[in-house]
Symmetry: C2
Subunit: 384 residues, 2 copies
Amino acid sequence: METVCVLGAGSTKYGKLNDSISDIAVQSSINAIENACIKPNEIEAGYISNVFGIADKQVHLGPVIMSNLGIPDKPSLSIESACGSGSVSLREAFANVAAGFYNAVLVTGVEKVTQTGTEWTTTYFSYCSDFFYEGQAGASFPGLFASMARAYLNEYDATEEDFAAVAVKNHNNGLLNPKAHLRKKITIEDVMESPIVASPLKLYDCCPFSDGASSVILCNEKFAKSHTKDYVKIIGSGRGGSPAALQGRDHMTTIPSTKLAAQAAYKMAGISPTDIDFAEVHDCFTIAEIVDSEDLGFFDKGKAADAVRNQQTELRGSIPINPSGGLKSKGHPIGATGVGQAVEVFDQLTGNAGERTIKNAKIGLTHNFGATGASCAVHIFQNV
Amino acid sequence: METVCVLGAGSTKYGKLNDSISDIAVQSSINAIENACIKPNEIEAGYISNVFGIADKQVHLGPVIMSNLGIPDKPSLSIESACGSGSVSLREAFANVAAGFYNAVLVTGVEKVTQTGTEWTTTYFSYCSDFFYEGQAGASFPGLFASMARAYLNEYDATEEDFAAVAVKNHNNGLLNPKAHLRKKITIEDVMESPIVASPLKLYDCCPFSDGASSVILCNEKFAKSHTKDYVKIIGSGRGGSPAALQGRDHMTTIPSTKLAAQAAYKMAGISPTDIDFAEVHDCFTIAEIVDSEDLGFFDKGKAADAVRNQQTELRGSIPINPSGGLKSKGHPIGATGVGQAVEVFDQLTGNAGERTIKNAKIGLTHNFGATGASCAVHIFQNV
């Protein structure tokens, strides 16, 4: 197995973008290529992640992106795993480079949906649930995560204000991220007084619909060393699955796929949760970050709300979570999100995260799932 | 690298199906699992290929399929590469088993679109073109392939009747395939007299829109040998790309991605085109089969029409092409097509192709592309 490295990273701003889906994908790809100090024709394959290309009338994005990069002969594909598409694409690219099939590949995640309006987006996103049991019964994602939140409040020592504190923290981090979608300082009161979306979740407990693209260049270490450029190693990669419908699970306050993916990634890396210096986790709703940080082993079950209350997950806390602002503030262009997490970790570990840099960080983790966690991938990165 | 084997294969009928997209995907998956004589929990990952899950309101198909198979904890993902999705999914599964990440995986391709009607399908399929240059200018796939056909007629010694002969042959083969969509004997005259879709292509030069699902079980050879079951080895796998828009290519009568994918697959297998006993190729339009069979090296450039005229590609010819009936007669459920080709090769090489069995066949090839060949994968299989 080859050691797999991240040699460069790039991203568009997340938010409501005017350019086409192809254009923003190409922009972030070029950013990553330039950041890696390579030429496009050194790329041997393109791993694209996207869910709703139809929203901007472009499916089969790979060849369009590769053609616009001037490397139409290189193979490409698109990977979809709902909101976890980006990290699953990263995983496939990782597997192919690790196996020696390619020396260097482009991983680009992209989504462009805001032009379609909220009704379209909410309806189509619900097709990512187990539609037979969930979507067609009216259970869209805010409702499903609200069920998890209600269960958590019933089972553990947590309050709606604790959920709100997650949003406040992530907005504080996002303020320091020039590419974040929602750059706005908010208070616990702002969250508590925002309109109820699906009780107990309020508007400010929910991430936005975003457009955006993020890219990384993955390569083997020989390739990385031949370029005079800081790079980061991927030391762990894991995947897992959960019953597609929430109703099929034993518990509402834990996500099995996260645990499986994390176990596999920690095992590959030969480390434990206490070795992680910071993490980008899937906070599509504030309750998700609470559950994720327990399932990833950062806190005991039922204790994540305490940790948030005690500021342990803040930028200067013991285990900073979502320094980028997370899905909540940085935004959630669903096909791009998992790749965007890797961009943040790369920027952090190479000292390019500006004001939100976590001092002395050596090991970062990304956690990204699809739907209510039916699919999940976890990656662990280490600087060299 | 592990030797990768096909241990089992299964398929629904192709055509207009009434069951849901999830149901048909699960049906073909169960067929393959039973055919491989394994238990579902021996599968370690699911590689799903699909393009328009939204047509039946189910994206994020992987976890739904795995959950319905009783193995929700196993990771899965969906791969899209337009009409080439199935073979690209096969390639990713191949790479992961070859690299040792998994011992055995399920590859299932599925599409369910006929319920949406021709207008929806034609419009959405056009999003698989380079939409900026092609789709939005009104160039949908019949028109694009008609341009290739017209160029071929201008450049080489071929007639519209030669194109028609491809359709006649594939319908003859499809008559012998109980799972084919269009099981109807046709004549050259039938094709020539059918309505013009995009001159010189007529209705019977075009494959149908189909629903359907196909599945194979891939595993390493140790796993295969531990099961008392006929298996087939994958000895070559190659991928390639072309400029996404037809206008970006140097020639209209050849597809660069086919040549690149074939070269890579032949090189990996250590064989040449003359070693291939039969092939399943991407005949979305009759002109495509002509071009494919030249790009794959079976005939010199401009000579495939001769070969069809001389019956060389018929079931009892020197190099049978599309014994299953091909996309033209078997049908083209786009996400399933590439996997369905592998099912046919597996059935042929294990002596389970019934009346259409090609005698003494030892090596079969599959060729499947997306759009006008912007993406392509070629696989070569050998019996043991």
